[in-house]
Symmetry: C2
């Protein structure tokens, strides 16, 4: 019960759903997620820790950057199914579409600044 509840609680927040959808375009480091959500670093850090604790994202440290990504096979079946549910039913959302645009626009303006942002284009 506890692990399932951790997943549902992690998904019960708009900012965290937006973060997950941003990651569906590929790996992002925390500062990029911050710029997408337009929230304070401390806030986003906590959101991502919560998603990590629920098994809904993986992390990777590279230098001073902490990269987050959606998990693959290493994720629990519950987490993988939940993520499939979220991405499937949130694709048409306006808020999400705006986030994706923001992410890609920033990358086009200064690719060096957003090396980790694939936005589905690689």
């Amino acid at each position: 019960m506890k692990d399932i509840l951790a997943v549902t609680k992690a998904l019960a927040d708009e900012s965290r759903l937006r973060a997950l959808m941003a990651l569906s375009g590929g790996e992002l480091c925390l500062c990029q997620i911050i710029s997408v959500l337009e929230l304070a670093p401390a806030t986003v850090s906590k959101h991502m820790s919560l998603l990590y604790a629920a098994g809904l994202v993986e992390r990777r440290k590279e230098g001073k950057w902490h990269y987050y990504r959606l998990p693959g096979r290493e994720a629990s079946p519950a987490a993988r199914q939940a993520l499939r549910w979220v991405t499937e039913h949130l694709e048409g959302s306006k808020v999400i579409a705006a986030d994706v645009r923001k992410c890609c626009a920033a990358r086009a303006a200064d690719p060096e600044d957003l090396t980790g942002c694939y936005c589905g284009t690689t």
Copy 2:
């Protein structure tokens, strides 16, 4: 986004998950859900209204009883998938098993008192 968030928020509470799992055994009226959860009527009523608003349960009034059940085809795809996810990953839970036992024991002791409680046996 709003409807998806309504579902995740509805699922992000242990009492509501227990209520849904109790309903996976069949239709129950509110007072039966109350006796399973051992919470105040007002509290359970609010929980069920929230689940209803999220499209995760259906209602039916019969006299002074209000029956709740898991939805069938009338539910949105998002709700149906979410319910499948919940029941699949919560079946082995200890808390849930205890709830089911309680529900069936009460029915055996006084069948007349729990006519709506099928507990999977009809």
